[in-house]
């Protein structure tokens, strides 16, 4: 019962933050009076971690937008050279601007909470479902190097993020996306094809090479 309560609490918090993010500014509560930040963090560590994550996302977007001014957005074109050229230039410029970035810089305190969301989602699934979820054809290499500020390998598929899991994770702006790859949760810049952050050691294991789920 306690566990269910926690799950519901997390879910409602996620949804709450998602809804808030969809609007321009969070609305000020009429009552009760907000707690000072330190007390609020102690009372609700998840909300505090989420707020910190949001601030870091905003900072990343501000930096990214400044760079985008110098590397104009690509419009629809029949010339794929322009598309890949812009992607590469944007990725390199962002990586250079945050050259000292390391794993965990953006996820920060939210990492353990994300880990728990992943774990709850993982445990809720049948073994067949677990195998099917991150099954790729052909399978991803076993020693895949995925590091902050490196491009996501362009020859590999973009591992699909299960829709139900995605609904539990904090919403991201359109420029960013999650990817779950072999026990790692990635934060990826969509148009720059850049790995922005990595959460390692998640409970989501590599899919085994085996026939997968069956429709009953």
């Amino acid at each position: 019962m306690v566990r269910l309560g926690l799950v519901l609490l997390f879910s409602s918090l996620c949804l709450g933050v998602s809804d808030a993010r969809a609007q321009t500014k969070p609305q000020a509560p009429s009552s009760p009076k907000p707690l000072p930040p330190a007390q609020a963090a102690a009372a609700n560590p998840y909300a505090a971690a989420l707020a910190g994550f949001q601030q870091r996302i905003d900072a990343y977007l501000a930096m990214r937008n400044a760079i985008s001014q110098k590397i104009p957005e690509v419009k629809e074109t029949g010339d794929p050279t322009k598309i890949s050229g812009r992607e590469k230039a944007l990725g390199q410029a962002i990586a250079m601007a945050r050259a000292s970035a390391k794993a965990g810089d953006v996820f920060g305190d939210l990492g353990p909470h994300l880990w728990r969301i992943l774990e709850d989602d993982w445990k809720s699934r049948s073994p067949e479902d677990q195998k099917a979820l991150f099954h790729e054809d052909p399978p991803l290499p076993s020693n895949l190097a995925l590091k902050v500020n490196q491009p996501y390998p362009t020859t590999l598929p973009l591992v699909t993020v299960p829709a139900k899991l995605l609904a539990q994770l904090p919403m991201l702006p359109e420029q960013l996306e999650y990817r779950v790859v072999d026990r790692r949760l990635l934060l990826r810049d969509r148009d720059a094809n850049l790995i922005v952050d990595v959460l390692v050691g998640t409970p989501v294991k590599r899919a085994q090479e085996a026939p997968v789920k069956r429709e009953k």
């Binding site: 074109t77 794929p80 054809d137 362009t154 699909t160 829709a163 969509r190 069956r214 429709e215």
Partner: protein
């Protein structure tokens, strides 16, 4: 607008194929098709049976010849299109399906082509767009046939900026053709933003036909992947609430027509270049399945019914039928404008 099972009247026009009822032996059905292919005249047979060979150094010129197995459209003013999926390999089989599409168009003059994802496999360098899309479909592109692509798990989302894919710079988008509205989704990343957009767009649509397409099949008998139940829980309620009529998907490298699920018609066509031979499992979901050669679909949305036909890389028809549309009294008169939005 949904269809009751009892109203589904399938008119299968290929003698060796009959719609399975779930418990019948589909393997016999596939054997029949395989035997049919093997017995095809030498001129129709590929040089080798493998579908995963390297592309020819010089793609063969499309010399369209009317194909006997292709049925012409039945209605004036219908919406006519082709469906291909999991195409972007640059292999010989992709070129052969491309040539076959051009041939089929002589008899069935489709106006556009929908791509259900995995448009470019592997590296996505500029030359890959040429080898894995522009050359295989050169004749169609020269004939100004537009393609409307969905993203697959092998596609970089920046493909949305590639003009020949007509995605208008968006991961998910919608467009209208005649009395049909098409909803193109990014099933690789079904976030809340996209779900809200989908509900908004579906709720606004009063088109006679509502067609959704995306990469991952909600229902599938595939042994490697199977049904995407996670995705299904998110989008199926919206399809049911707002009356989606037909859904096309890929991901599985074969053709499968599913039995109508909750009144919605489902097709998987992910075998237009890749092929997972023998990957269709025996499940009660299958109406007709084909996993022994590459394939593509032709469809026609008419006033009261959808006609479809599925052909192989060598132009053999493996499935066809008529799927009736049950008018939904809640729908307003069809919007005949041609527009698109994201």
């Amino acid at each position: 607008m949904r269809v009751h099972h009892t109203l589904v009247t399938l008119v299968l026009s290929v003698g060796v194929l009959t719609a399975t009822n779930g418990s019948s032996a589909r393997s016999a059905e596939f054997s029949a098709i395989a035997a049919q292919s093997a017995a095809a005249p030498a001129a129709q047979r590929p040089a080798t049976p493998s579908s995963q060979q390297a592309a020819p150094a010089t793609p063969r010129a499309a010399t369209p010849q009317p194909t006997g197995d292709v049925a012409p459209p039945r209605e004036n003013g219908s919406v006519r299109f082709a469906i291909i999926g999991d195409t972007g390999t640059g292999t010989k089989s992709q070129y052969e399906v491309g040539a076959q599409l051009m041939k089929a168009r002589q008899v069935f003059p489709f106006d556009f082509i929908i791509m259900v994802g995995d448009n470019i496999y592997g590296s996505e360098r500029p030359q890959d767009f040429v080898q894995k899309f522009e050359k295989p479909y050169q004749a169609l592109l020269s004939a100004k046939v537009p393609f409307y692509a969905a993203l697959g798990n092998h596609d970089d989302p920046t493909q949305r900026y590639y003009k020949p894919f007509n995605m208008n710079g968006e991961r998910f988008y919608t467009y209208t053709k005649g009395e049909a509205r098409f909803f193109v989704l990014d099933s690789n990343y079904m976030d809340q933003t996209q779900l809200k957009w989908l509900e908004d767009q579906l709720s606004k649509s009063n088109n006679r036909w509502k067609v959704a397409y995306f990469h991952h099949p909600l229902y599938s008998s595939g042994g490697r992947h199977g049904s995407e139940t996670d995705l299904r829980t998110q989008v199926e309620p919206l399809f049911l609430r707002y009356g989606v009529d037909v859904v096309f998907a890929g991901h599985e490298h074969f053709y499968e027509r599913l039995k109508p699920q909750k009144g919605i018609y489902y097709f998987t066509e992910g075998g237009a270049a890749k092929l997972a031979k023998g990957d269709i499992l025996k499940t009660p979901l299958t109406a007709v399945g084909f996993d022994t050669d590459n394939s593509f679909m032709l469809a026609e949305l008419g006033r009261d019914a959808m006609q479809f036909q599925t052909l192989t890389r060598v132009g053999k028809r493996i499935d066809s039928g008529t799927l009736p549309l049950v008018p939904d009294p809640k729908k307003l008169p069809a919007d005949k404008s041609s527009s698109r939005s994201q």
